[in-house]
């Protein structure tokens, strides 16, 4: 009961007129900036952080949280409508963009919004009841366990890719290799930088994402001589009841997966999207449609992403450890405001902690209220003729790349990845696993080397530790399952071919 009492206390703080206003402003501005290609939550928060300097602490944190969620939703809008993702919306490019091609953009955006709401709600229930104790879960994970967890993420790829398992793994490995570019954290050696100074910090995520998705997609559309038909039809925003019913189970599954994976430091939201998508692809009633524009393909991943984004606040607020770059920025914002996140935060600033928890939910409601009517305007993108639209998208890609480091050199990197992305596209290689490998690769290497260092070069730690052992066993089962399914299928087809007629 105490948890409910705390939550009510939080809502009391979140629901003041001022804080509601800050939350609404944050959501709207966040969505608008997040919509622009290349500006993900990280860039959006760092751009808008100065806006919060003059606002009282509670309101500022609530506004930042609003910006964060708004930017995430904006990202999924650009992924669904233009196939330009950021880390939080890679999976939305697969089925979401397919739905756009099928003329169901409105439904896809609505699904993403509602599923985020459902996922967020689940995560808040988890946060409210378990936050104080859950933070310690992260302490249970050693380097070997993180390695195993990331390998699970890679195996999820085999379920995600639309092509073959081999292609998915290959792209994943290429992603890991691309993540190696830059300075080696352990020894300081510059690797694969071709003696270019601006590569010493590695290749930017934005450059890879814009090149492999955005620019490759633009060129593909140009190759097809595609005059995208102006969008005249009536946009059906509110789904029919059967459609709505399809959203709920996927969103619930995604929310549960996301809530759990979000707690774990390192790549939680990214793995969560892929995991939720993979699970839907296996267990959904409509699994045969996933990949060609199914509601489930959008709902599960959106819910998981949102839930993981929420629960990733748990390690920050309960043990004071930011688990990714966005959380590190939030930590900075907390400290600027004179609040030190950590074990004492719940005790010392209960109004801030519970207010933030409550405001997350309020932010979600705002996103739905603001965005569902605004989707109509997002869709007006399609009324612009493609000959005007594509130079504009290129412009936003340039600005997005430039603004990360204020470096024009990064634009050359983006162009190089545009070419690589185009080759991938033409060779029928899916770029989504590449992003997973790229994001997780450096963490995988770090933990792999650390685990071997602790085990003095012995691989035993990977199998004897309970967590990593279980995860590796899970991988074994998944791979075996996949192989058996493959052989059964190929036998069935060869038998069918052998039959006369």
């Amino acid at each position: 009961m105490e948890a409910l009492h705390n939550l009510a206390f939080g809502f009391e703080h979140a629901l003041t007129l001022n804080n509601l206003m800050f939350c609404a402003i944050g959501c709207t501005v966040g969505t608008l900036v997040g919509l622009l290609p290349g500006l993900g939550p990280l860039a959006t928060i760092s751009l808008l952080l100065p806006l919060t300097y003059s606002i009282p602490t509670g309101g500022a944190l609530i506004m930042l949280a609003g910006i964060y969620y708004g930017a995430q939703y904006g990202d999924s809008v650009s992924a669904i409508t233009m196939k330009i993702p950021h880390a939080s919306s890679i999976v939305a490019c697969i089925d979401g963009y397919q739905m756009t091609l099928n003329g169901k953009t409105g439904l896809a955006l609505f699904t993403a919004g509602v599923s985020s709401f459902i996922g967020g709600t689940i995560a808040i229930v988890v946060l409210t009841f378990l936050a104080p104790s859950l933070g310690e879960v992260a302490f249970l994970f050693g380097p070997a366990d993180y390695c195993a967890l990331m390998l699970v993420g890679f195996v999820c790829v085999s379920f995600v890719t639309t092509g073959s398992l081999l292609n998915g793994l290959a792209m994943c490995l290429i992603g890991v290799l691309l993540g190696q570019i830059g300075t080696d954290v352990n020894s300081g050696t510059q690797r694969f930088t071709m003696d270019l100074d601006f590569l010493a910090d590695g290749v930017g995520l934005v450059s890879v994402a814009l090149g492999c998705f955005g620019i490759a997609e633009i060129t593909k559309n140009l190759d097809n001589r595609e005059e995208r038909t102006p969008f005249n039809g009536k946009i059906n925003l509110i789904p029919t009841w059967p459609e709505f019913k399809r959203i709920i189970p996927s969103a619930l599954r995604g929310g549960a997966i996301g809530s759990f994976l979000g707690i774990l430091p390192g790549g939680g939201p990214v793995i969560a999207q892929f995991a939720a998508y993979a699970i839907d692809k296996r267990f959904s009633k409509y699994k045969h449609e996933i990949g060609s524009g199914a509601i489930e393909g959008v709902a599960g991943q959106a819910a998981a992403d949102e839930a993981a984004a929420r629960t990733s606040f748990i390690p920050l607020m309960s043990i004071g450890i930011p688990e990714n770059a966005v959380m590190a920025l939030m930590l900075a914002a907390f400290i600027i405001k004179g609040v030190q996140p950590g074990p004492n935060m719940i005790a010392n600033h209960p109004d801030l902690f519970w207010g933030l928890v409550a405001s997350m939910w309020v932010g979600n409601v705002f996103l739905i209220i603001l965005n569902v009517p605004l989707v109509r305007y997002w869709l007006s993108v399609f009324k612009i003729p493609y000959n005007v639209l594509f130079p504009s998208i290129l412009f936003f890609c340039c600005i997005g790349t430039f603004s990360v480091n204020n470096s024009l050199n990064d634009i050359f990197t983006t162009a190089a990845f545009g070419f690589v992305g185009y080759m991938f596209l033409r060779l029928d290689l899916d770029a989504a696993p590449l992003m997973l490998g790229f994001i997780l690769g450096p963490m995988l290497e770090e933990n792999f080397r650390r685990a071997l260092l602790i085990g003095r070069g012995n691989f035993g730690a990977f199998f004897t530790r309970p967590i990593s052992g279980t995860l590796l066993a899970l991988i074994g089962i998944l791979v075996l399952w996949q192989l058996t399914a493959f052989f059964l299928k190929s036998r069935a087809t060869s038998r069918a071919a052998a039959l006369p007629g």
Binding site: V33, L169, A170, L173, L177, N186, T219, I411, A415
Partner: protein, 140 residues
């Protein structure tokens, strides 16, 4: 050579060799004290294996023609590079104009007035970014 599956295999092999051979130049170390080259070497060997399997398998599969249209991708990349080069030497407004005029060559139709209008619109957006959001753009 006009076989997508074979080219895919060769492409993967090329990437794995590019990274793998380079990583041999870094200290490899041992498993207990991994050097900078160990992990990339492991990953690129695995990739090499997948590339070889793909290339060999393509011999037993039906050929799929590879459609490459290098003109459009070349134009798009040229427009991005033009933007970066002109922004660095002159200023970003000129960069935007260059980019729009260069990229538009890849479109289905070419019209100078339309390019001018698009450039003007984008410059206005860039100004708004600079003034309202405080982005640090070297516009002029």
């Amino acid at each position: 050579m006009n076989d997508r599956n074979l080219v895919r295999g060769l492409f993967l092999i090329a990437i794995s060799l590019a990274f793998g051979l380079q990583s041999l130049r870094y200290p490899i170390g041992s498993f207990s004290h991994a050097g900078a080259g160990l992990f990339p070497l492991m990953v690129s060997s695995l990739l090499l294996l997948i590339g070889l399997i793909t290339a060999v398998r393509s011999r037993f599969m039906e050929r799929v023609p590879l459609n490459l249209n290098l003109k459009n991708i070349a134009l798009i990349l040229a427009s991005l590079c033009a933007f970066a080069v002109v922004s660095a030497t002159l200023n970003m407004m000129a960069g935007i104009v260059c980019m729009v005029f260069c990229a538009a060559l890849a479109g289905t139709s070419y019209s100078v007035p339309r390019n001018l209008k698009v450039s003007a619109g984008l410059i206005a957006v860039a100004l708004a970014f600079q003034k309202l959001l405080g982005l640090n753009l070297p516009l002029y």
